[in-house]
């Protein structure tokens, strides 16, 4: 691994980790699309401040960007509060507008500057290490690693300090305000943190791919754990893994690094979505099938038991429906026979003592 490759991965890891932390709360608050809105709207702030200071490395750019992120959120909420459009539509109205104004300004007045539309959308992670941080002649690493590192620290501190407040206001907003926390304030603080994160990440991975890093790792984590703190931790792990593996895939097949990172996020999600042990798609199908089988077994045992008792009880309507497919009944019969709960003699099916006991228990539990 060359020092250049190391630096790229370092920046990518910090970006991914920084995005995943606030991302977990965005996903839980059903505000994933806010990441989309913010990451696009910050461009306007960056450009307007750039016109003022004419310096792409000015820290004022971050403030301008964060301010336009907050502006986007306030506009979305204002449109939303009017109750004239629905929430998702108000997001769709506000941020493309702010973004398109920025694109127009960019193409009209800033053609010769480093921020061209291509790098805005996709970022230039490969160039990130060229911009070095030099203190009294000594090169101490890529500048973006320091900027992003500070943002990561900010996110970590924010979530650790306000963990309890974020948790309760995300879970139950009206309860949170009844006990004296201010969910609106927490909301805006979180949005400010997301804005700042987007600004930092935007330089490295671009405005579209930053959404992948904010939304997808928390979604993977959500399907794998029952605890909020573990969900945040797992999000960071997923983000970092996607960043590193994305880098090497890009290296291998020679494609855009940020694109490769985001694609791997998507692939990770697909894998988790399918194979998550409890909430995964396959696990749910398996569980449904198991329940169906268990119900069919119980129905058969109980109806045999009732026949034995000499009751002329009609088949339970559900069980009759169940047994209409000849396939299922033969499966159930075979299964119960193997378990030794029924015995088959000729055409007739009999309960064994074990099956009788089980039927009795089933009926008692009804």
């Amino acid at each position: 691994m060359s020092p250049h490759q190391f630096d790229i991965q370092l920046v990518a890891i910090i970006v991914a980790a920084s995005c995943s932390i606030p991302g977990a709360f965005l996903v839980l608050r059903r505000m994933s699309m806010m990441a989309d809105a913010i990451s696009h709207s910050i461009l306007l702030g960056i450009i307007l401040v750039f016109f003022l200071v004419r310096d792409l490395s000015s820290p004022l750019l971050i403030i301008g960007a964060a301010a336009s992120g907050i502006l986007a959120i306030s506009l979305i909420e204002a449109v939303n509060r009017s109750r004239l459009v629905k929430k998702d539509a108000s997001i769709g109205i506000v941020f493309p507008f702010l973004f398109s104004v920025a694109v127009i300004l960019l193409s009209k007045y800033a053609r010769n500057v480093h921020i061209d539309t291509h790098s805005v959308l996709l970022g230039e992670l490969a160039f990130a290490p060229f911009n070095r941080f030099i203190i009294s002649g000594t090169d101490i690493g890529p500048k973006s690693a320091y900027i992003m590192g500070s943002i990561f620290l900010l996110n970590l501190l924010f979530v650790s300090f306000f963990y309890k407040e974020l948790k309760v206001s995300t879970f139950d907003e009206s309860f949170a305000s009844s006990i004296g926390f201010r969910p609106r304030l927490i909301h805006y603080l979180l949005m400010a943190v997301v804005s700042v994160t987007c600004v930092g990440a935007f330089d490295a991975v671009g405005s579209i791919l930053v959404i992948a890093l904010i939304v997808i790792p928390p979604c993977c984590a959500y399907l794998l754990t029952d605890s909020l703190s573990k969900m945040i931790f797992l999000s960071v792990v997923f983000g970092i893994t996607a960043a590193v593996s994305g880098f090497w895939v890009a290296n291998l097949i020679d494609v855009n690094i940020a694109g490769s990172m985001a694609s791997l996020c998507g692939l990770f999600f697909l894998a988790v979505f399918l194979f998550a042990p409890k909430r995964g798609f396959l696990a749910i199908i398996r569980e449904k099938r198991r329940q169906k089988m268990a119900f069919a077994e119980a129905s058969l045992l109980v109806s045999l038991y009732n026949q034995e008792m000499g009751k002329t009880v009609k088949n339970h309507p559900d069980s009759r429906e169940m047994f209409q497919s000849g396939d299922l009944i033969s499966k159930v019969v075979g299964f119960l026979k193997r378990k030794g709960e029924i015995a088959v003699k000729g055409e007739k099916i009999f309960l064994t003592e074990k099956g009788r006991e089980k039927a009795r228990i089933t009926m008692e539990n009804q």
Partner: protein, 258 residues
């Protein structure tokens, strides 16, 4: 200064001239209501009568157009810690990644204030509250695995942790099983016996006389309030519900339908 006023004549909750509106739609109109200390009070009324709005605006969760609310004689802001709130169970996402005991612990967040984290003491308190609602064995369960009745018990346990003197509940019996309903009523009656005040939005007119001693009948304006045996009658219910109820307290031995 928060706390309970020594003078027993000062009501637990006093609402004066309360008016709330969403846009130009009046939801609550000029409500005057006094809830005596140590009473168990039902808030009933048809859909859209403003029952939830009343509970929320007492706590300032919804801006008031006009009106004053006092808790034990002082403003709600000063008495926040004396008030415990149980929102509607359906108002939150039960798939949120957290356990039963952590949810109950949220009841102690108000006392902790900003930034301070719950510790050993808060954990014990949460377990104690879970024991009261008979949910101790579920303390480490993920909240998405609970039934409706169990969810409601968790919400009640969270309110118990707050150790307040006034309890505001929004439809605590909505969609819960009969066992849970009985358990909740028992706990609420214990609270009242201990001098606490309970104000609960209630739907089932059949059980009003059995559960509550006082009632507030609401339909945007306050139709009537007072002791159940004095104001819970067909005349007042007709005023609130119009023809939309067939429940008449006087004839409840023959008709049970609502």
């Amino acid at each position: 200064m928060s706390g309970i006023e020594k003078n027993p004549l000062i009501p637990a909750i006093r609402v004066t001239d309360l008016t709330v509106a969403y846009g130009d739609k009046t939801v609550l109109w000029d409500i005057d209501l006094e809830i005596p200390r140590g009473s168990m009070v039902a808030v009933v009324g048809p859909n859209g009568a403003g029952k939830t709005t009343l509970i929320k605006s007492i706590q300032g969760l919804i801006p008031r157009v006009a009106g004053v609310v006092s808790i034990h004689g002082k403003s709600y802001q000063k008495q926040r810690k004396e008030v415990s709130y149980v929102p509607q169970r359906g108002s939150v996402d039960w798939d949120f990644p957290t356990s039963v005991v952590d949810t109950v612990k949220m009841g102690s967040y108000g006392d902790l204030g900003w930034i301070r984290r719950p510790g050993r003491k808060e954990h014990e308190k949460a377990l104690g509250a879970l024991e009261k609602v008979d949910m101790l064995e579920f303390s480490n369960r993920q909240i998405s695995q609970l039934s409706g009745g169990q969810q409601q018990r968790v919400f009640l346990a969270r309110a118990l942790v707050q150790s307040a003197s006034v309890y505001l509940l929004d439809e605590p019996f909505q969609g819960v099983d009969a066992t849970t309903e009985k358990a909740i009523v028992r706990i609420l009656k214990e609270l009242v016996a201990g001098g606490k005040t309970v104000l609960s939005v209630h739907h089932d007119l059949n059980t009003v006389s059995e559960y509550y001693e006082r009632i507030a009948i609401l339909n945007v304006g306050l139709v009537a309030s007072g002791r159940v045996d004095e104001v819970f009658n067909s005349e007042n219910l007709m005023k609130a519900y119009g023809g939309k109820t067939s429940f008449f307290p006087e004839r409840k031995s023959t008709r049970r339908a609502v």
